[in-house]
């Protein structure tokens, strides 16, 4: 469970987040929408413990992230439009490296299984430098899952994906949803974002301006709601 209370982030004189209150239950799928510059990626950086909030509290599984940051990081996986992969290492070496950093037991079999899941067994011993964008993104999905995190945070993961990679990512999301992993997804794509979402938030100008359960709301109604929220929100 993730609980955020009054999260703010200020860089210089610029206030990026102006008080985010959020509660994400275990196993919940939350999608975050918002225009560019709304503070979505900053929110995700704070939730993933990559960045500290200027003020406010963040709890993961009831533990304050300020005090238990190092150990709580093992509960979080991140998929971003950047892959976090080393170009000069092979696909297998990248996964082994991250697996060792997360102290994974039976690492070799875990790596083999992940490579198979993302359809990259045939390229396991090739350096990432020679991979296409789609292949890199598929490997990035495997990287984010190497430690089987209960919480998965995704920042526009569909950016630059080919159809096969999109299908793999959708499959991963469906599986995670079935296995009751907690998912926080940032996207601009209504179709992808609403499909499995239990809770939807709209972030504008560093504030959550709308939150709802999207089940039962048609895409067109949600689109209208989004446009109204974005247009009417204070900047």
């Amino acid at each position: 469970m993730i609980v955020a209370q009054g999260l703010t982030k200020q860089i210089g004189s610029k206030k990026i987040l102006k008080g985010i209150d959020l509660e994400i239950n275990s196993g919940e799928f939350v999608t975050c929408f918002g225009p560019n510059g709304a503070g979505k990626s900053t929110t995700m950086k704070i939730l993933s413990l990559l960045s500290k909030p200027s003020s406010g509290k963040l709890y993961i599984d009831g533990q304050d992230t300020k005090e238990h940051g190092d150990s709580l990081r093992s509960k979080v996986g991140v998929i971003s439009h950047n892959t976090f992969l080393y170009d000069n290492l092979t696909a297998r070496e990248n996964l082994q490296f991250y697996g060792k950093m997360y102290s994974i037991a039976n690492l070799n079999s875990r790596v083999d299984q992940l490579l198979e899941n993302v359809g990259l067994t045939y390229a396991a011993n090739d350096t990432v430098r020679g991979f296409s964008r789609g292949m890199q993104q598929r490997l990035a999905i495997a990287r984010s899952l190497v430690h089987n995190p209960p919480i998965l945070l995704m920042d526009e993961p569909y950016t630059g994906l080919d159809e096969m990679a999109k299908e793999i990512l959708n499959g991963v999301l469906r599986q995670l949803s079935q296995e009751k992993h907690t998912v926080f997804l940032i996207t601009h794509d209504f179709d992808q974002g609403l499909e499995q979402s239990d809770q939807t938030i709209i972030l504008v100008g560093g504030k959550i301006v709308h939150r709802c359960n999207p089940k039962g709301i048609s895409r067109e109604d949600f689109r209208q709601l989004y446009l109204k929220s974005v247009g009417g929100a204070p900047r």
Partner: protein
């Protein structure tokens, strides 16, 4: 896996990447060899003045070769935002700093093993009689220099003009280490320390102690600040 195991994994990643890319070592080696050759042909080795400034020439060459390598130290972490991948791992972030420092020390060690003997050959110098002490002083000087350099290269890597910024930030900070190392080297080149005047030997030990203190300070300060630095 404990902290040291993770540092070891990070060092393995650094070595594997460098063995494939050869980006840092090749540029450091080529630069230092060119400078050795340049000084070797441009300066008269039999001139007394050259003999007196030899330790300075040696350490300025090694310093600039090191800066060249340090400029590349965090480049691989910027590609694909790999630094975020590391920051997500459940380990104290100072592990990243230690692994980078060890890797930079290894590379600098290779450069010194190749370059210093060449300096001796081209400048007609025989290695110091107290070779163990010379190696120890070289290690301390290199460590102090790399401890500061690795920290600042992480800072500079976040800027657009990192290659210009790093020397500007670094040179004022490494001046004390450089002066101490040059002074120790100078005394060691005078001959066997058991035959030198007590004043020279005392000053050498003083500079060695200062180098040790410098190394301790610039190990503790980066460890304390590295987490904060990565978030800037």
């Amino acid at each position: 896996m404990n902290f040291l195991d993770k540092v070891r994994v990070l060092i393995w990643k650094e070595i594997t990447s460098e063995l494939r890319a050869k980006e840092m070592l090749s540029s450091m080696l080529v630069f230092s060899l060119l400078v050795v050759a340049f000084f070797g042909f441009a300066l008269d080795a039999d001139n007394n003045l050259v003999a007196r400034v030899f330790p300075g020439i040696l350490w300025v060459t090694l310093t600039f070769a090191g800066i060249l390598g340090l400029n590349r130290s965090f480049v691989s972490e910027r590609q694909n935002d790999c630094i975020h991948g590391l920051m997500l791992c459940p380990v104290d972030r100072s592990a990243i700093y230690f692994a980078k420092t060890v890797m930079n020390l290894l590379l600098m060690g290779i450069v010194e093993i190749v370059t210093i003997p060449l300096f001796f050959v081209l400048f007609n110098y025989s290695p110091p009689v107290n070779i163990g002490l010379f190696i120890f002083a070289t290690f301390l000087g290199t460590y102090g220099f790399m401890a500061v350099g690795t920290f600042l290269s992480a800072l500079a890597a976040n800027t657009k003009s990192s290659e210009v910024l790093l020397p500007i930030l670094m040179i004022p900070l490494i001046v004390p280490a450089l002066i101490c190392t040059v002074q120790v080297t100078k005394v060691l080149f005078m001959g066997d320390i058991s035959t030198l005047s007590p004043g020279s030997v005392d000053s050498m030990w003083l500079f060695l102690r200062l180098l040790g203190g410098y190394g301790v300070i610039f190990t503790v300060v980066p460890v304390m600040l590295f987490d904060f630095l990565l978030e800037v």
